[in-house]
């Protein structure tokens, strides 16, 4: 599920950018698309297949980036891919796992503290790095690993990137992002409290179901999607000109890309597994 929030944010951003803007020239060229995509895909193949050991995992991220860029250009054209470049990069936020463990721990610690303060009348206790509530004298514990700190941080990263994409590097982007992160934080705290309340009211079985991370992830993804979709809505133009949405025919390219992805994936699988192992 770590891809859910970035994918949803990317989808919301793309949905708001499917149609070209008023100031975007309607100039396209399949030869330019083909040449750029060929360059990107050859780079990806070189990085993933030819780069030597000992540390092949180093090449996975640039290789994935080059493949993603090449595939996007080939499938939707250079201009459209450029318009959606940040949206397409969002899933990589999750893939790269750039959030350090210390930050995740600190976030979970903050979440525990806030939930303990806000839920004090009901009684969740922050003890020994876990949140504990009770149901008929039996203790129900939400450990640090069960808290959605990483999902919150991923969502925050997506909101920051999306705000930059939609509003540009301006103060308004920072303001909107700060507000959105506050909303996301409130929803995250609310979700944790809801899990604890479910356990307190309905017992251990309901508590086990409610603490599945997927539920919180879906909730946070929904919040991110709504916020990004609201930002992405373009302001009505005074005198819109006829803008031709450009989508090249790329069925052959799609088949080729899937085959290439499978082949390169198989080739780089051992390195990816090593990376996952190292992350653990």
């Amino acid at each position: 599920m770590p891809l859910l929030i970035p994918l949803v944010a990317a989808a919301a951003l793309i949905a708001g950018r499917v149609r070209p803007g008023q100031d975007e020239p309607d100039v396209h060229d399949r030869q330019v698309d083909g040449l750029l995509a060929a360059g990107c895909l050859v780079s990806a193949a070189t990085l993933l297949l030819l780069m030597p050991s000992p540390d092949r995992t180093t090449w996975l991220l640039p290789g994935a980036l080059a493949y993603l860029a090449g595939a996007a250009i080939l499938l939707v054209g250079t201009r459209t891919a450029a318009r959606m470049r940040w949206a397409l990069l969002l899933p990589l936020v999750a893939i790269t796992g750039v959030i350090p463990a210390a930050v995740v721990d600190a976030t979970n610690g903050a979440l525990r503290a806030v939930v303990a303060v806000l839920g004090r009348p009901g009684g969740p206790v922050d003890a020994g790095g876990a949140l504990t509530t009770t149901y008929r004298q039996s203790a129900l514990t939400l450990t640090s690993a069960d808290l959605p700190g990483i999902a919150f941080l991923g969502g925050t990263a997506c909101l920051l990137v999306s705000a930059l994409v939609v509003f540009g590097p301006r103060t308004v982007a920072l303001r909107r992002a700060a507000l959105a992160v506050a909303v996301l934080g409130a929803v995250t705290v609310g979700a944790v409290m809801a899990v604890l309340l479910t356990g307190r009211l309905l017992g251990p079985t309901a508590f086990r179901v409610a603490e599945y991370p997927v539920l919180t992830d879906v909730l946070l993804a929904l919040v991110v999607m709504i916020l990004v979709a609201r930002w992405s809505r373009r302001a009505p133009q005074p005198a819109p000109r006829t803008v031709r949405p450009y989508l090249p025919r790329a069925r052959f390219a799609l088949v080729t890309l899937v085959v290439a992805a499978v082949l390169m994936g198989l080739e780089s699988l051992p390195a990816a597994l090593a990376l996952t192992e190292a992350a653990r």
């Binding site: 008023q22 100031d23 975007e24 020239p25 309607d26 100039v27 396209h28 060229d29 030869q31 330019v32 040449l35 750029l36 360059g39 070189t46 030819l50 780069m51 030597p52 250079t78 201009r79 005198a239 000109r241």
Partner: protein, 469 residues
Amino acid sequence: MSATFGVHSAHTVLTRAQRAGLLLALVLIGAVAVLRPMLVLQTVVAIVTLAYTAALVFRVMLVYAAGRGEHQVEVSDEEARAVPDAELPVYTVLVPAYREPAVIGLLVQHLGALEYPREKLEVILLLEEDDRETIEAAEASLNGSWAQIMVVPESQPKTKPKACNAGLERATGEFVTIYDAEDIPDPLQLRRAVVALRRLGSSYVCLQAELGYFNVDQNRITKWFALEYATWFRSLLPGLVALRMPIPLGGTSNHFRAAELRELGAWDPYNVTEDADLGIRLARSGYRVGVLRSVTLEEANSDFINWIKQRSRWYKGYLMTWLVHLRSPRATISQLGWRGLLCLNLFVGGTPLAALLNAVLWATTILWFLDRPAALQEIFIAPYYYLGLFCLVFGNATVIYLNVLSVRTMDRPDLLGTALLSPGYWAMMSLAGAKAAWQLVFKPSYWEKTTHGLHLPASSVTVPEAADV
């Protein structure tokens, strides 16, 4: 028209003899590559390195020559205005346009500013028969003005040079020039050209005016473009003049003696850089070309894809021109001399080839730094490796220095950062070079139309479709 040009028409990119020679060379290289692949790779690297070094030295020579003395023809405002109207000849201005209704309205405003007697100014707007939109826009904006509209009948090839040839047939002027619809020429340019051509004598049949841009600050691409043109017109072209070499003409603002232009057969309708080709043909015929100190402001291409399309057409045309004029090497040497031959190979052929090869060489360099494959070490044998290293360090530094020099000549210190970021522009050039090479093989006469008016508000721009021959 190809009959007029004979062997020097781009109607056929490669003649039978050229094709046979190329095929034979490829077979021989292939055969040796099977037996001694490393030898072939080493030879290719050696030839490419030598060619790069030669092109680099040639550029430095041009800039050095340009810096020694004044090589632009200068006509002061007083001299230009001193010619009485009665002594001015009829001047024909050809304005070819295709699918450009947005900018056609600017024509009256821009050409209306020319200081030339109306009764002696013949402006012919050349429009294609199938381009109803531009014809209607032109009829609306030129109604009652001094400009004429000439509708060029539908026929192949549908190219700018074919339209210009049609316009030249109707032209009555003693002198002829070409402007694009969005061009803003120096108001005294026609008078200056008359004075200069009369002063220089009959051996000069053409003057190329300097081109500049009115939208330099639109974005990074326009800034790079402006610096490149400044280098071209203030360092390289004066260098070619100083060394008495052929001048590849620019697309607009070249001023001809009409009679000699007709005698030469005018523009090759099949060549997509008919202007550069005409410059070489002028030199082959023993005529001289000067560079006039008078600026025409154009629209710098501000869009990445549009820029690639335009530049790939230029590169393809340069490659065509190079191949066309190498068809009869003996005649070329006798007509152009060794200086002309140098210019033809290192400037006309060398520019697009260098752009194309740059991408391969940069990729090789990056690969070396990332992985240090043993095969690469073997390909670059010592003398050529050091020569290549010299080109990498000194060559790149020289080109960046030329751009910095243009910052100085343009008196635009704010463009210094843009000059230092030139490698980004070179990457775009490489992409255009690859596109040009691809099209030269598969679509040689395809005219990659450039969209104009991208500096205007979005609502007024329509995008043309390319013309295929």
